[in-house]
Each structure stands twice: as C-alpha cells, then as structure tokens.
C-alpha cells in the first residue's frame, strides 16, 4: 500500500494537487465538503483533515431522518432489505454483532455529518432507537404526541383539592 503512494509522489511535480481533477485510477482523495472553497485561495500548507461545516438552511424533519436512516441501513450489505423493519432488532432479528453496529454507526456519522460516541451507539437495539436518537440530537419532535399540560394539570389540581377538602 505504501509503495503505490511512493510511486504517486515521484510522478507528481509538487505536493499540491487539486481535489477534483485528473487523477490516477486508484488514487485516494478526500470527499468534497459542503463548504465550497476556491482553489486559488488555498494555502500550500493546507489542512488535510478539513472540518466540514454544516449548512444552516438544512431543515431536519422526522420523515427525512427516517428515510435517510433506513437508506443507510439498506445499503449495508449484511442487512437483508426485506427483513428490515422499524422495530427489527439488530442482534436478534438481523443477526448483526458489535462490529457491525460500529460500522453502521460510522456510516450514520458520515451521512448526518455528526459524531456518535460509543456510549450512545451501545444503546442502539432497533432502527427506531437510532431515529429517536437523531431526532433528539436535532430537536425534531413533530412525531411526538403533544402532552396537554393544561388538561392534566387541572385534573391533578382538582384531585389535590378534593384530598385537601376531605382531610
């Protein structure tokens, strides 16, 4: 693996290479980010691990998150697309082990431009958990049935008043 990169280096005249351009067939180049950067303004000592910035106009909704998560799961080659449901458990129903969960988490991180630590990915048992986790992360709650605080508070208050009255 290192020998092919040495051959690449000796072939090019300088270390500065355009990201999108004519490249050898098996080259590695970084994924274009959402930030559009002008090649003219790039410094010679460019930061290789460019931190991507998420555009603020992307609006997260529950159907969007659900469809993206199910797409990522379907694209995973160890998951049978027909057996995949919202509530199908990864370990029992789909036969995945901890390494596969780590790989799925990495794919989801790549899809949603975010980081999911190990402590959170340990709790992923079904796709529904993943969707709920991402909804919590992006403050999406349109699928949650609203709790009418007024109605229940009135019942509580009435019950408390009854109790106080009878004592």
């Amino acid at each position: 693996m290192l020998s092919s990169t040495f051959r690449l280096l000796t072939r090019t005249s300088s270390f500065i290479r355009p990201v999108i351009g004519s490249l050898p067939r098996r080259s590695l180049f970084l994924k274009p980010t959402l930030v559009s950067f002008n090649e003219k303004h790039r410094q010679p000592s460019m930061i290789i691990n460019h931190i991507p910035v998420r555009q603020s106009h992307v609006h997260y909704t529950y159907p969007m998150i659900e469809s993206r998560v199910m797409l990522v799961l379907r694209l995973f080659d160890k998951i049978d697309g027909n057996a995949l449901q919202l509530d199908s458990k990864f370990a029992q129903d789909l036969g995945l082990d901890s390494l596969d969960i780590v790989e799925i988490t990495a794919a989801l991180e790549d899809e949603f431009w975010t980081e999911i630590p190990d402590v959170d990915s340990d709790h992923f048992v079904t796709p529904r958990h993943i969707i709920q986790y991402l909804c919590d992360k992006y403050d999406v709650y349109e699928h949650v049935e609203p709790v009418s605080a007024g109605k229940e508070y009135m019942e509580e208050a009435k019950a408390a008043a009854e109790r106080a009255h009878h004592h």
């Binding site: 590695l28 970084l30 901890s98 390494l99 990495a106 790549d110 190990d118």
Partner: protein
C-alpha cells in the same frame, strides 16, 4: 463465575474503538473499490482474532491494528 474480567471489558472497548476509527477513516475515502478493500481487510482481521481470550495477545493485536491504521492515514495524507 464468568471468566471475563473488567480488564477483558476494557480491552474489548479498545478493540471496538480501533474498529470505529478504521471505519471513520474508511468513510473519508472516495474510491469505492479501495473502501471495500479496507472494509474487507478490517473485517477479516477482526473476525480472525475474535476468539482470543488472552489479554496480552489481544493487546498486541490491537496495537498492530493501530499501527496499520496510522499507516493508512499517512498514505491518505500523502495521496491527497
């Protein structure tokens, strides 16, 4: 009594962290063939050693994996 100790648990989470770093690095690669190659290599290595129970052997394998991952990152930096 379960034969797995706390040290086993710690070493297991280190191995999973290594696999996660490999997967995250793999996601940055654009070339799909090379991505598949890295994934197959990582999967085969981890599955080959999944029945190891000796802590020293596991730690050695994790260290070897770390070194391979650093080589991969270096290769990516040199190629980009």
């Amino acid at each position: 009594m379960n034969q797995f100790s706390l040290k086993h648990f710690i070493v297991r989470s280190q191995a999973l962290a290594l696999y996660r770093d490999i997967m995250r690095t793999m996601m940055k690669i654009e070339d799909q063939d090379y991505r598949k190659e890295i994934r197959e290599w990582a999967r085969s290595e981890f599955h080959r050693n999944r029945t190891l129970r000796d802590l020293g052997e596991i730690r050695t394998q994790v260290a070897l994996g770390r070194r391979s991952l650093n080589e991969l990152k270096l290769a990516m930096r040199m190629a980009s």
